[in-house]
């Protein structure tokens, strides 16, 4: 018989904050994954909302290719506020 698939668990700790990845677990289906996630990751009210996602559904970038992959952002200093030279007197901008 097939083993229970792996699920990634994301928890929103309180409204106003984003869901954050907190680990993974095995479960036979989504309902069980949610209930297990509640028992494993929110025993002390650490969350108000949980997402579970089949790990197999995640497409991840490959860190070996980080050089080329993130290269387009590397030499664009003009995307940062400090690139612009303004007079000292202009304190808050």
């Amino acid at each position: 018989m097939k083993n229970w698939p792996l699920w990634e668990v994301f928890v929103r700790s309180k409204n106003g904050l984003e869901h954050r990845h907190c680990g993974s677990l095995h479960a036979s289906d989504a309902t069980m994954a949610l209930e297990n996630a509640r028992d494993v990751y929110t025993r002390r009210m650490e969350g108000v909302s949980i997402w579970v996602v089949p790990s197999s559904a995640i497409t991840a970038s490959n860190p070996d290719n980080n050089g080329e992959f993130f290269e387009p952002a590397k030499d664009k200093a003009y995307r940062h506020p400090t690139f612009y030279e303004l007079p000292e007197e202009l304190k808050h901008m």
Binding site: N3, S24, D39, P63
Partner: protein
């Protein structure tokens, strides 16, 4: 290709040296991966097997307050095991392989759980001493180099302090009770003291993994440093309880500003590691039994999920 490996290795060394984390998909030396699988799984197995000695007393806890606390503690240990298995699986080993290694005896778990829990006072002594020693071991691991392990340890450490406090409270209650209750607390301390001391690992001279593990920040302090910390922290706590630590050589060393302590029985330690402790067989039987007898449940849940999937797509 050769040059490529050398480059990857240099990049890896640079990250470790700069206290940057290694994440699952990053390149890592095979030895780093293997060592981490060994240590993280051993740690996970310890959490899981560690539920058994305490599980023994849940139904016989002396009050509802004690019962809910012990139940919550044991449930936390299950959680710790799961955080750690989940971290370990990111290194490319499956949960089934990990369980197989435990059930076949190929993988080790902390030897301390091969001792029996014969009285209620053992619940106090375990929380106080065993969780106390575990905390000392685990806190430095929150800064270890492998990201998923470090994150799991942060979560574990947050939960551990309640474990130690509930144990100490049990001891305190017994020590303030009848002479028989106090004697029970002393007896538990007598039996758990040395196994707890040895739980922090072989002496530095005997420890084979220390140097490499220090480099990878899998270890930040040596076993003997951790042990000293444990002794110095625990002696005043025993005084507070009015209990005597069963070590005639234990005494304050004014020069070192630390306690000196007596020799440990490493012969016994290795016997227990090799499987000849009082409860090795009972613990492994309980684990295998749970896994084997739970098989139909796992299969039924999977069969149900597959059937539901078909119904939905039909």
């Amino acid at each position: 290709m050769e040059a490529n490996i050398a480059e990857l290795e240099a990049e890896f060394e640079r990250k470790i040296a700069n206290d940057e984390k290694i994440e699952p998909k990053d390149w890592m030396p095979e030895k780093y991966r293997k060592t981490h699988i060994r240590q993280i799984s051993q740690h996970a197995h310890s959490e899981i097997v560690g539920m058994l000695p305490e599980g023994n007393w849940i139904t016989r806890a002396p009050s509802l307050r004690r019962k809910v606390a012990l139940l919550a503690k044991v449930q936390d240990e299950a959680g710790h095991g799961l955080y750690l298995y989940s971290a370990c699986e990111t290194l490319g080993i499956s949960r089934e392989e990990l369980y197989d290694q435990l059930h076949s005896g190929e993988a080790k778990y902390s030897s301390i759980f091969n001792y029996p829990t014969v009285t209620w006072a053992d619940m106090g002594a375990i929380g106080w001493l065993v969780d106390g020693a575990a905390i000392i071991n685990q806190v430095p691991l929150t800064a270890t180099s492998y990201g998923p392990y470090a994150r799991a340890m942060v979560r574990v450490c947050k939960e551990e302090s309640f474990h130690q406090r509930q144990g100490f409270e049990i001891m305190l209650t017994l020590c303030n009770g009848t002479p028989e209750q106090k004697a029970m607390a002393q007896d538990a301390l007598n039996r758990w003291w040395w196994p707890s001391m040895m739980m922090l690992g072989p002496t530095d001279a005997e420890s084979v993994h220390t140097e490499q593990s220090m480099k990878w920040k899998l270890k930040r302090k040596t076993n003997d440093e951790l042990r000293q910390q444990f002794v110095d922290q625990t002696v005043p706590q025993a005084d507070l309880l009015g209990l005597t630590i069963p070590d005639p050589d234990l005494k304050w060393n004014e020069d070192r500003k630390s306690y000196d302590y007596g020799d440990m029985d490493w012969e016994e330690f290795w016997q227990v590691v090799k499987g000849h402790g009082p409860c090795n067989k009972v613990r492994m039987d309980a684990r295998r039994n749970a896994w084997d007898k739970g098989k139909w449940v796992r299969d039924a849940a999977m069969a149900y999920a597959e059937k539901q999937d078909k119904l939905e797509t039909a």
